[in-house]
């Protein structure tokens, strides 16, 4: 209802304001991240929260991606008599694109919403204000640790997801095509190059950073009471997902320039 009343100009203005605010937030993060003291314990706690707690979901998702991708592609490759190319195709698809993006989206759904809701509720219950009053830097304690945790853990989760997706793909090939594990993984790694692995890991770092940044940004600047908490969690997911696709597009262009894919 509110959106319908806004003019297009104010929407565009709001969008750019959001981008500007997010950029300042990111700048603030880098400033606080470099400066001591470092909240190491809180960082580890957040790493555990982001990494270990997301692991079952990421593992299951990765495994199913591998299974489904192989099952769906198999009939088409069979038509062309190119089933032997399945490991190479699945390997490149998962490592280069599907693994990082899907796992990042899963993390966006789970982690960004969690951070947004957590920080949002802290904001509306004035816990952040209380921290400031008590002399603790809430940005360093809450935001820096979370963004760093997502930046570090999402690439690791992507690697886990990739491994499990390849394992899922191998299981399909093993039971349907009688392909041995040695042959499957040999073909996968014969097809893979550093031009596939390095950009994938680097963009996963950026995906993690984007998830943490958006989640913290939305939660840290949460408004309008308990309704705002839900909104913060929701917009954190939407915005971080959108940002993941934009970053992925940029990453593809940049890796294309560097690696001539």
């Amino acid at each position: 209802m509110m959106l319908s009343e806004k003019s297009i100009g104010s929407l565009i203005s709001s969008f750019f304001k959001q981008i500007g605010a997010l950029t300042f937030f990111a700048g603030h993060f880098f400033k606080e991240a470099i400066q001591p003291p470092y909240e190491f314990n809180e960082l580890l706690k957040q790493c555990y929260s982001v990494g270990n707690r997301s692991l079952p979901l990421v593992s299951l998702t990765g495994f199913i991606i591998g299974l489904v991708l192989t099952l769906q592609t198999r009939p088409t490759l069979q038509e062309f008599g190119a089933v032997s190319w399945m490991p190479s195709m699945v390997g490149i698809s998962i490592v280069r694109e599907i693994g990082p993006v899907i796992i990042a989206l899963i993390c966006a759904g789970r982690v960004a919403s969690g951070i947004g809701a957590e920080l949002g509720s802290m904001r509306v219950t004035e816990q952040i204000d209380a921290m400031e009053v008590s002399g603790t830097n809430p940005f360093k304690f809450l935001v820096v640790t979370r963004i760093t945790a997502t930046t570090l853990m999402v690439p690791l989760l992507v690697i886990y997801g990739d491994v499990l997706a390849l394992y899922g793909s191998f299981l399909v090939e093993h039971f349907k095509g009688d392909v041995s594990a040695r042959l499957f993984f040999n073909q996968v790694f014969n097809a893979l190059n550093f031009s596939d692995l390095i950009p994938a890991v680097i963009k996963s770092v950026f995906f993690g950073f984007a998830i943490g940044l958006v989640g913290c940004f939305k939660g840290y600047y949460c408004e309008k009471g308990t309704v705002g908490v839900g909104l913060a969690a929701n917009t954190a997911v939407v915005m971080s997902s959108l940002l993941i696709f934009i970053l992925d597009f940029i990453a593809v262009i940049i890796s294309d320039i560097f690696y001539d894919l």
Partner: protein, 325 residues
């Protein structure tokens, strides 16, 4: 605190395992690209690299032995490709090895295939350059195929005409296929041929037996076929016969001329041969002469007994008797 320690342990395991996966993946990819093994590089010049890229595989006798390190233009027609190969393969690549650019499968990545050289040559050294061979490209292949297809189309059109004609029973082959009478005739012909063949076999056997007989010594045929002395004699006989024939021929020619002259001339012989009246007259004359001679003999006998000539005849008898003695 206990919970925190447990969380850290789990986090540590997660980070370690994930990092291990990353390291293993990096190692496997790096190993494929020969980053962790001793390598040497060799160069090769091509006129066309057909889309070859840095990092493409290099195969030696079908085994992956390295990757393409760099592709640089030497001049407007020559491209230098430097390959990084595993050092363990160095003794097997001879200086006369030949590099070609191919594809991994029908539509796969471009690869360099190194065809082994002869064992008589020295192994390549780091930085050496080997020869290249440009295989026929896909475009050339397709254009050749296009020509082949056109020819095949023409051939099939002709073949269609031929088969149509055959089906309609035109021409010898068509009739052969469709005409039942001709088939029966052919069948009969074949039967006859069989019979003829049987007869020919029998005849050949007989001939063989005859020839075996020829082989016997002292037979005329054997002498004729095998005795060289008799052969020489026969030759001289034949030569004499030829001469005699020639003489006979000239004789006959002369005789012909004489006969011609007799027939064409006006001599007595012509009338003797052609004039029957003359012959009759001659017969009468001869008869008259015979009767005249008989009368003359009688006269002479009477003359012998005449007293006038009796002495003369006795004298002649006496002289004859003397001569006989």
């Amino acid at each position: 605190m206990a919970r925190s320690a447990s969380e850290r342990l789990r986090l540590g395991i997660l980070v370690t395992v994930a990092t291990a996966f990353l390291v293993v993946a990096a190692y496997l990819i790096g190993d494929k690209e020969n980053m962790f093994s001793k390598t040497f590089s060799i160069g090769v010049l091509f006129n066309n690299v057909n889309g070859l890229k840095e990092g493409n595989n290099v195969r030696f006798s079908g085994v992956n032995v390295g990757t393409v390190k760099s592709i640089t233009m030497q001049n407007d027609t020559t491209i230098k490709v430097v390959m990084v190969l595993k050092e363990e393969i160095q003794p097997f690549i001879k200086k006369d090895a030949v590099a070609t650019i191919g594809t991994d499968g029908l539509v796969g990545n471009m690869i360099i295939n190194i065809i082994p050289g002869k064992n008589t040559h020295e192994p390549v050294q780091d930085g050496d350059q080997i020869k290249s061979y440009s295989k026929i490209g896909a475009d050339d292949l397709l254009s050749t195929l296009s020509v082949t297809n056109e020819n095949a189309a023409l051939l099939t059109a002709d073949l269609l005409k031929v088969t149509e004609a055959l089906t309609e029973g035109k021409g010898t082959l068509g009739r052969l296929l469709n005409d039942t009478t001709m088939a029966e005739d052919l069948s009969k012909t074949l039967t006859n041929l069989k019979y003829a063949s049987y007869k020919a076999t029998t005849s050949l056997e007989q001939l063989s037996a005859t020839l075996n007989g020829v082989d016997r010594e002292n037979s005329i045929a054997n002498v004729l076929f095998k005795d060289t002395l008799s052969g020489m004699r026969l030759k001289s006989v034949i030569r004499d016969l030829e001469n005699s024939g020639e003489n006979l021929d000239s004789l006959l020619t002369n005789l012909n001329l004489i006969v011609y002259d007799i027939k064409g001339g006006k001599g007595a012989l012509k009338y003797l041969t052609t004039d029957t009246v003359l012959v009759q007259q001659l017969e009468k004359t001869i008869q008259n002469i015979e009767s005249g001679t008989e009368s003359f003999n009688q006269n002479m006998e009477a003359l012998k007994h005449n007293f006038l000539f009796r002495r003369y005849f006795k004298k002649l008898e006496k002289e004859q008797e003397k001569q006989n003695d």
